[in-house]
């Protein structure tokens, strides 16, 4: 894990490393390996060419990481959807649509064209809430967002739409990162995505594809069986 401005347990001032970014999706991903997604997206949105990368980390934090606490959940997944980019961009751009196919979200409320309020389901009837801002929005191409400072669970993400070759629709790539805080919330949050966050995000993206292509999300929940 690396530091971002919202991190309270680390020494944000002691900089050891700087990473340069020239922009573009590929570099965002490259950046992901060395820095926080939120920072990269912010830098890109701000048009910045230089990004403050990894920093020296506090002992407490390193210890937490070693035992698996406080580890950021970082996933990326791509799916090809047999629909035009405009249609997919438009649906996604209304964040209030996201809970339809993202099971880990309870609801999203859009306040204005920049800010929205997100509520995620957590085990045992708990929920986790945060406000998020759109960082960058390029029509039919790219949307990035990040939680505002002070969120319980700092998180950020982007979705990129690009036409697939051979008239196969649109390649939709999603990258998400969650930085759980310490304490009880961490444990709750870790359960949110289970043991395989990649699989869960993959399933959510697949449900998006089903909804866009087939008009409904395939299910077997509620069907009969001989199980007692």
């Amino acid at each position: 894990m690396t530091l971002t401005s919202g991190d309270k347990q680390a020494e944000a001032s002691d900089l050891e490393r700087w990473a340069s970014l020239i922009g573009g999706g590929a570099l965002v991903l490259m950046g992901l390996r060395q820095a926080s997604l939120r920072g990269v997206l912010t830098a890109l949105a701000g048009g910045g060419l230089i990004y403050q990368g990894a920093t020296k980390r506090s002992t407490i934090q390193q210890a937490q990481e070693a035992i698996g606490l406080n580890k950021p959940i970082k996933v990326e997944k791509t799916v090809t959807i047999n629909k035009p980019t405009e249609e997919l961009y438009r649906y996604w751009h209304n964040f209030e649509n996201l809970p339809t196919f993202m099971k880990h979200l309870k609801s999203v409320k859009v306040y204005n064209e920049k800010r929205s309020h997100w509520i995620a389901n957590a085990p045992l009837g708990n929920s986790i809430e945060w406000d998020a801002d759109i960082l960058e929005d390029r029509e039919n191409e790219f949307i990035s967002w990040a939680s505002v400072e002070g969120a319980d669970v700092e998180n950020s993400g982007f979705v990129r739409f690009q036409p697939a070759p051979g008239n196969r629709g649109t390649e939709v790539k999603v990258v998400l990162e969650y930085n759980p805080p310490g304490g009880t919330l961490t444990a709750i949050f870790a359960k949110l995505f289970g043991e395989e966050p990649e699989q869960q995000i993959g399933d959510e993206l697949r449900r998006f594809k089903m909804l866009m292509e087939a008009g409904e999300i395939a299910t077997t929940e509620g069907q009969p069986s001989g199980r007692k």
């Binding site: 090809t80 047999n82 196969r168 629709g169 699989q199 993959g202 399933d203 697949r206 594809k209 089903m210 292509e213 087939a214 008009g215 409904e216 999300i217 395939a218 299910t219 077997t220 929940e221 509620g222 069907q223 009969p224 069986s225 001989g226 199980r227 007692k228």
Partner: protein, 389 residues
């Protein structure tokens, strides 16, 4: 309603379960009038297909009457008589739109299992494990049909179920197997397995211009059926060496194309069969690829292997050198039912195809456990069992 539920290897029970309901707008509920036991159901029955769970309703070859439709369905109404293909396709993804329905992207809600195992997703199949979607099967009084607007073919009321039922699975599977062979005039096609799929593959091969069809099996009554109805020359591999016989019957060249209508529970003879049976029991291989091996060696140079028998996992001791050096073409896959069902219905309506000859047994749904036993052990000259709910 009553439904056939899988419990453990070689054990199915007929249980009372809740009726299915509409879960999605493009669903329909079908009252099943006839449902068959498919050879590939035996792989489930025998416990060879992973991710089948205790209590799952099985069965995928069926027809019946529409009793309820979802709000997204406009082209079907209550009372329509329909045949339903066993593979479930959404009709809107890239694969369905290119007539590769069994590769549908959107019908499998549990696709992560396949994605891990196979590297990608295939369509769901009714009652055929959770890996393939986990949908309740059709050996029941009622069944929910997803994507029913593209997933059924309407059939006229004046033909018997036995004339129409196999458009659901066995005929398109056999037909696709023959189509994969890219048959040229004068070709000889060898078909391993004389169950319903094998029989329809042979008939289809002739329709596509094959000059000679050779049938390979070990049950005399199945071979007789192949001779009588599919006009095939026959080889009983328990009496003669199939590989040598095929060479003799093809002037030393080997068949131009070979169709596998057997799949993962193939029987062989001698040490090789012992090897496969043992490894499968020890879980060191999942599938018994006897037919695959034999086809690779028997096929002529530059020929085609068309694999319609089902394989599920890993196979051992495959003579890949033979396949490579002889330049063989492999074609395979679950059948694309929706691609063929209209054409096949027309063949039946025109009197060019009468599939009813394969039915040797008809039992009430309640007797499913007995029906599975008869079919698995090929008792009483059994070729195909139809269950009547």
């Amino acid at each position: 309603m009553k439904a056939v539920c899988w419990y453990s290897a070689n054990e199915v029970r007929v249980e009372s379960v809740p009726d299915p309901t509409i879960l999605n707008p493009r669903d329909a509920i079908i009252k099943v009038t006839s449902t068959a036991i498919c050879g590939s159901d035996l792989h489930i029955y025998g416990g060879y297909i992973p991710t089948v769970q205790q209590g799952d309703i099985i069965g995928h070859e069926f027809m019946g009457e529409v009793v309820e439709v979802g709000q997204g369905i406009e082209n079907l109404k209550i009372g329509d008589r329909v045949v339903v293909p066993s593979t479930i396709g959404c009709g809107r993804c890239h694969y369905c739109q290119h007539d590769m329905w069994s590769l549908c992207d959107n019908s499998n809600p549990k696709a992560w299992i396949e994605e891990k195992l196979f590297g990608n997703i295939t369509s769901a199949i009714y009652g055929y494990s959770h890996m393939l979607g986990g949908y309740a099967g059709a050996q029941a009084e009622y069944v929910r049909v997803p994507f029913a607007d593209v997933g059924v073919v309407k059939v006229p009321p004046d033909l018997s179920d036995e004339m129409l039922l196999f458009i659901s699975d066995a005929i398109p599977t056999g037909y696709m197997g023959a189509e994969f062979c890219d048959i040229q005039p004068g070709d000889t096609v060898a078909v391993w397995g004389c169950g319903a799929v094998g029989q329809f593959a042979m008939i289809s091969a002739y329709m596509m211009g094959a000059e000679k069809v050779i049938a390979i099996d070990r049950f005399p009554e199945r071979l007789e059926m192949a001779k009588k109805y599919a006009k095939a020359e026959i080889i009983n591999y328990e009496e003669v060496n199939a590989g040598e016989a095929l060479k003799e019957m093809t002037g030393g060249r080997g068949p131009d194309a070979c169709i596998d209508a057997v799949g993962l529970e193939a029987h062989g003879v001698g040490i090789e069969d012992f090897y496969d049976q043992t490894k499968q029991k020890l879980k060191l291989e999942t599938d018994r690829p006897h037919v695959l091996r034999e086809m690779m060696v028997a096929c002529r140079k530059g020929g085609t292997l068309s694999i319609m028998g089902v394989y599920g996992g890993f196979v051992d001791k495959i003579p890949f050198g033979a396949a490579f050096n002889k330049g063989l073409t492999f074609r395979m896959g679950q059948m694309h039912g929706q691609k063929y069902m209209h054409l096949l219905l027309q063949l039946v309506l025109d009197g060019k195809l009468d599939p009813s000859f394969v039915v040797t047994h008809q039992l009430p749904l309640e007797q499913a456990p007995r029906a599975y036993e008869i079919f698995q052990q090929k008792l009483d000259n059994c070729v195909k069992v139809v269950l009547k709910p």
